[in-house]
């Protein structure tokens, strides 16, 4: 187990280095950052001076390792546009994105687990069919369009909810639903499949034969086991959701790091984009690492393989 943990952690680090390296070269291949910093009025000499000052005249891999070294120390450079420290810009807004992601995944779990359980209790019943119907519809609904439709109905027509901002709790209602429903079909299907399998197992029959109440069998014995893979999948989805937050935050003008990355891309503000890619990638890597280690802990055979 310690060897396995070490190996997986090492691989996770390697992945982050490759991802950040790829993004770094991609963004530096694109526009000349010196032109972005200099602005439109900059003369040729100004551009040359900026290149020297920021070190853009060095080979790209040296620039990358330079950036990486500082990034590991928490220094992500300065925004070209806002002239602020990127670290401060990201840390100021990351809480909103985390809050949105957490609320969205909770929403998805709160909808999908009861629905999946109900569907599994009576396969092919009306409830099962309705649940499946919701899942199929949900999977096909474009997230950003769903968000726009909610804005029109609840924000513009009925005026129930604010359509932009991040200052009050009501600002998070529509973004949470828009982001959360997308994970619902996958989680619901997994709950249903897991519950059907567990409910058919021997220990459930034993529990029923002992004369336990149906509720106790369902919640204490069945759901507890079926829910483990669902929670693992939810962790992975949480990582995906942070990525999905770009569109949702932009639509609702909820100024988290998803919105910030959109804003930075519009302005070719490379240091900000690189930092946010690294943040998203780190989240995904850490979450999958934790899920893997948890699985290995629960099933020791995995770490031997």
């Amino acid at each position: 187990m310690p060897a396995y943990t070490l190996k997986r952690t090492f691989v996770a680090f390697l992945i982050l280095i490759v991802v950040s390296g790829l993004t770094f070269s991609l963004s530096h291949l694109s526009a000349d950052p010196a032109l972005t910093i200099g602005g439109e009025q900059a003369s040729e000499e100004d551009i040359q001076a900026i290149r020297k000052l920021y070190g853009f005249d060095r080979p790209i891999y040296i620039q990358y390792f330079d950036w990486l070294g500082r990034a590991l120390a928490g220094d992500f450079g300065e925004s070209y546009h806002y002239k602020q420290r990127v670290f401060d810009m990201v840390s100021e807004r990351i809480g909103r994105t985390m809050l949105l992601g957490t609320l969205a995944i909770l929403f998805a779990l709160v909808v999908s687990i009861p629905l999946g359980t109900l569907a599994a209790m009576r396969p092919n019943s009306i409830i099962d069919r309705i649940a499946l119907f919701i899942a199929v519809l949900g999977q096909a609904l474009p997230t950003f369009w769903f968000a726009l439709m909610m804005i029109i109905v609840f924000g513009v027509w009925w005026r129930w909810l604010p359509i932009s901002g991040h200052t009050q709790w009501a600002n998070y209602v529509m973004p949470t639903i828009a982001l959360g429903y997308y994970a619902t079909p996958a989680l619901m299907r997994l709950t249903r499949a897991g519950m059907i399998e567990v409910l058919a197992s021997d220990y459930i029959r034993t529990a029923r034969a002992k004369g336990l109440s149906p509720a106790s069998v369902l919640f204490k014995h069945a759901l507890r086991n079926a829910i483990i893979p669902v929670v693992a999948l939810a962790a992975v989805w949480f990582g995906f959701m942070l990525g999905g937050s770009i569109v949702i935050e932009t639509i609702f003008n909820l100024k988290g790091i998803g919105w910030l990355s959109y804003d930075a891309l519009l302005r070719s503000d490379l240091p900000v984009v690189q930092a946010i890619v690294l943040v998203f990638a780190s989240f995904y890597v850490v979450l999958t690492l934790l899920a893997d280690l948890l699985n290995a802990y629960l099933d020791p055979r995995i770490s031997v393989r």
Partner: protein, 308 residues
């Protein structure tokens, strides 16, 4: 070989005929399963309709999708009482282009993106997955690392950055999505190839000295084909949704191309007074993706039952 029924013993022939009577042919069984599978049927019908619309767009569209008429800006669709132009059933957009025609031509863009992306990512993912699954060991370790690296990349953000880097156009969007959406292909192909590698007839082929490429193409590949098509439908739907989202944010297909995502972007400022400018392209997207998903789900059920 002249192995005709007449040359066989009578008893065998009789047994065969009774079997033929009792058991329907594989094709009729397949047909029955297809007809009994509602989601497959509904999906296939909608999908065929969208295809027909895309191919027949020049005949179906009442106007040129690029034709602007500033005198007829933002006319209302037919269900409104005021400001309706009978020439434009679904009204016009902010520069007076016929909305129905743009929606019709939009299907071409979505299908083009879906198919091209699926082909590119399908080839990359299948090659990686089958190689990893067949050879195992170090090759598998390397491919696994590549897959995990890809999964760790925030696709949407990196795709936006790539579009900024290489300039926004249909080709760039297709290439970027194609180079990103192969992960599911690789993961699924890898695990199926691993199972297929240990099947008896694959071992037999190896034992009689068949070459590795021959085994992969002739013995392994037919096994992965049905899962491959199912993953292909999922990724096609995924690509269509991602393109729409990219175009919606302005990092995808550029104006004046009639892309549904771009139409949503353009309609956004008229959200308050002309909400149908937002509703209609979204409904088209939703229907297309729904059809592809239903088709894929149905395909999985139909082919899996055949394998059983």
């Amino acid at each position: 070989m002249t192995d005709t029924g007449a040359a066989r013993p009578l008893a065998f022939r009789q047994r065969q005929t009774t079997e033929e009577i009792l058991e329907p042919s594989p094709w009729s069984k397949l047909r029955r399963r297809i007809l009994g599978n509602h989601s497959f049927l509904i999906g296939a019908v909608i999908l065929a309709a969208v295809f027909a619309v895309a191919i027949l767009a020049p005949l179906l569209a009442p106007h040129d999708p690029y034709d602007q008429d500033l005198a007829k800006r933002l006319t209302n669709p037919f269900w409104h009482e005021k400001k309706v132009d009978p020439e434009h059933i679904l009204g016009t957009d902010k520069v007076g282009r016929d909305y129905l025609s743009r929606l019709i031509y939009g299907s071409q863009i979505s299908l083009l993106i879906g198919f091209s992306t699926m082909l590119i990512s399908g080839v990359i993912g299948t090659v990686l997955g089958v190689t990893a699954g067949y050879f195992g060991g170090r090759v598998d370790m390397v491919v696994n690392f590549i897959i995990n690296t890809r999964l760790a990349m925030p696709v949407f953000l990196v795709a936006m950055a790539a579009v900024v880097a290489f300039g926004a156009s249909l080709t760039v969007v297709i290439l970027v999505l194609g180079l990103f959406l192969w992960d599911r292909f690789a993961v699924v192909m890898r695990s199926i190839t691993m199972q297929a590698r240990d099947l008896d007839y694959v071992k037999a082929a190896r034992a009689i000295g068949c070459s590795t490429p021959y085994i992969i193409v002739r013995e392994i590949f037919p096994n992965v084909l049905s899962s491959l098509t199912v993953v292909a439908t999922v990724e096609m739907a995924n690509a269509i949704l991602l393109e729409a989202a990219l175009s919606f944010l302005g990092f995808g297909v550029q104006a004046p191309t009639p892309s549904w995502g771009l139409m949503l972007n353009e309609g956004r400022e008229y959200m308050f007074f002309s909400p149908w400018l937002l509703a209609l392209p979204g409904v088209c997207l939703f229907m297309l993706v729904l059809a592809i998903n239903l088709f894929g789900d149905g395909l999985r059920d139909v082919t899996l039952e055949r394998e059983r």
